[in-house]
């Protein structure tokens, strides 16, 4: 019995010493767990639009997508990003009038009045911390998320920062560039005569959509008073305090515009037809009216019914069915 006890004790010490020696290097120092190695995620956009402090990884984008679709993120009322940014609605939502999450990687000022300026990480930190008031203890109590954050960021704790970093990675990948308009520019397809007429109007000074909704992004990302009201709301002025910014709101991208109703910062127009009617004959002068509203004195462009129909047809060419059906952007749940 005594011999058995001695043998068991000896065996214990041998195993224990072997076990503990695995945690020490040659000099007897403890070695931390090897960090997880992540897989780089390749996104074909200008390098300056990426954040070197938050390099895209396959793991980060996947984790960001989970968080984007998960109501666990909301510390107050169980909402998720995806409830107001629905893929089939161009990552916007009819019920919330939220700005669409399309090609946000090119943005430097976010929300209708640009109140958050900086990087995608900055706006996502605002969303996580201030909009959702995310309860980090709930996320930290979730074993799946703890494991994913460990594997993505080598993080032992889930924080506002690494949560916003993950969501920022996913939202950066939401790129729409495969509409019929894109295919036409690439000379892969033809447009109908009505769409061509609408395009020529769009890119003319008479129609003049392009100054605020030009470039491949179909937005200048800038702020304009487009003549909605004689006494406009504060708009950008709420951020800058400059009275010249009264009534100025961000130009939204027109990519997938047919899917992103309602329109304008307050969602006052339910259809694109109403929007075209507004620019045709509904403009109102106010002291901060944008100089680009060239026909403000006439109340608008005074388009004919045919011109309105052509313009509407052209706006529909911005719908990107690849984007709204891309499984890479769809809910993982």
């Amino acid at each position: 019995m005594k011999k058995a006890y001695i043998l068991t004790t000896a065996l214990f010490f041998v195993i224990a010493s072997f076990y503990f020696s695995a945690c020490k290097d040659d000099k007897g120092k403890e070695v931390p767990d090897a960090p997880y190695v992540t897989t780089p995620y390749t996104l074909n956009i200008p390098a300056s639009l990426l954040n070197p402090n938050n390099p895209l990884t396959v793991e980060g984008v996947a984790l960001g997508k989970m968080l984007y679709y998960d109501t666990l993120l909301d510390g107050v009322s169980g909402r998720s990003c995806a409830q107001c940014h629905i893929q089939k609605e161009g990552f916007s939502s009819y019920k919330s009038n939220a700005l669409a999450h399309i090609n946000l990687a090119w943005n430097t000022a976010f929300l209708w009045n640009g109140q958050i300026e900086g990087t995608m990480e900055d706006i996502m930190l605002f969303e996580v911390k201030d909009f959702f008031e995310a309860d980090m203890s709930k996320l930290n109590a979730n074993a799946t998320y703890r494991d994913l954050f460990k594997k993505t960021f080598n993080a032992d704790e889930i924080t506002y920062e690494n949560t916003s970093f993950a969501i920022a990675q996913f939202v950066r990948t939401l790129i729409s560039a495969d509409s019929r308009y894109d295919k036409y520019i690439q000379r892969k397809i033809s447009l109908t005569p009505s769409e061509i007429n609408g395009m020529n109007l769009y890119y003319s000074e008479e129609g003049d959509c392009f100054h605020c909704h030009g470039t491949p992004l179909l937005t200048d990302g800038d702020f304009h008073n487009n003549g909605l009201d004689e006494n406009p709301e504060e708009g950008r002025m709420a951020v800058t305090t400059n009275p010249q910014d009264r009534g100025r709101f961000k130009s939204p991208t027109l990519r997938n515009i047919a899917l992103t109703a309602p329109y304008m910062h307050d969602g006052r127009f339910e259809t694109l037809e109403e929007v075209i009617d507004f620019y045709s004959e509904g403009l109102k002068y106010s002291p901060t009216i944008d100089p680009l509203m060239k026909q403000i004195h006439a109340g608008g462009m005074q388009l004919s019914p045919q011109e309105k129909a052509d313009l509407l047809a052209f706006l529909h060419t911005f719908t990107d069915s690849t984007f709204i059906n891309n499984p890479a952007f769809a809910s993982p749940f």
Binding site: W106, Y203, S204, E205, Q244, H297
Partner: protein
């Protein structure tokens, strides 16, 4: 000659000290070497004026040749092919295409390291010469927002100069002096300044733009007509002609 061991040791120490000192002093000499710096910094400042006053946005205090009171809300433009010229005819590129937004001060300074010597002048093009003005070359803003639509020839605007003016009935109207490569025609305006620029040390040159001059000499432009002009070759030509004295250089 008999040298005792103490002396020998003493000489060795002195020799060693001298050797070390020479190495040490040599390395010090390298660090404080007082050779002339082969390069100097050229600072190029972009400055904007109306009626001999510094440009002030959103204030209706300016008058053009037709006595129209106007204010300025936007001034964005490209300057290209900025070269320093040497007496031997060689040129040194300072910047190929440069964007300026006078409202938010984007691009109002350029610093370029150049060989420290005397230059005989500076040249530039207002706008973007056709050989440089390629659609799609800018993929991020602000430069990308200067896009000139493909149906009008493509490329990028040269200038967006916008504001408001008072009409005869005192009502206010917007104007938009947008110039650019309508139908891919090069309407850049080329300036050559034969001004000695001594860059034996750092120096600053200022490129001054006098906005009221866009509206006169030789063509007096009525601001009522300076709207929706991008597709109008006649007005584009008049703006180009008026531009001959819009830029001056000072040091």
């Amino acid at each position: 000659m008999v040298v005792n061991q103490n002396h020998m040791k003493h000489f060795k120490l002195i020799f060693l000290s001298l050797l070390l000192s020479s190495v040490f002093l040599q390395s010090c000499k390298d660090e404080v070497k007082d050779e002339p710096n082969p390069n100097s910094n050229l600072n190029v400042v972009f400055s904007h004026h109306v009626n001999n006053m510094a440009l002030d946005f959103d204030t209706a205090k300016y008058t053009n040749a037709l006595n129209q009171n106007f204010e300025v809300s936007t001034l964005r433009y490209f300057v290209s092919a900025i070269y320093l010229r040497k007496a031997n005819g060689d040129s040194v590129l300072v910047k190929d295409i440069h964007y300026v937004d006078a409202r938010d001060n984007t691009g109002v300074n350029i610093t370029k390291q150049v060989a420290a010597e005397e230059y005989v002048g500076l040249s530039l093009a207002f706008g973007i010469p056709a050989y440089l003005n390629q659609s799609g070359m800018f993929t991020i803003k602000p430069e990308s927002n200067m896009e000139w639509p493909e149906p009008m020839g493509g490329g990028y605007h040269y200038m967006k100069f916008e504001g408001k003016f008072a009409k005869e009935d005192n009502s206010v109207q917007n104007f938009q002096m947008h110039s650019g490569p309508l139908m891919a025609m090069d309407r850049s305006i080329y300036f050559t300044f034969d001004t000695a620029i001594n860059l034996s040390n750092d120096a600053t040159v200022t490129i001054n733009q006098h906005l009221e001059k866009w509206m006169t000499s030789p063509n007096d432009l009525d601001l009522k007509d300076i709207t929706m002009i991008m597709g109008n070759p006649e007005v584009q030509g008049k703006i180009m002609a008026n531009g001959h004295d819009v830029i001056t250089l000072s040091q």
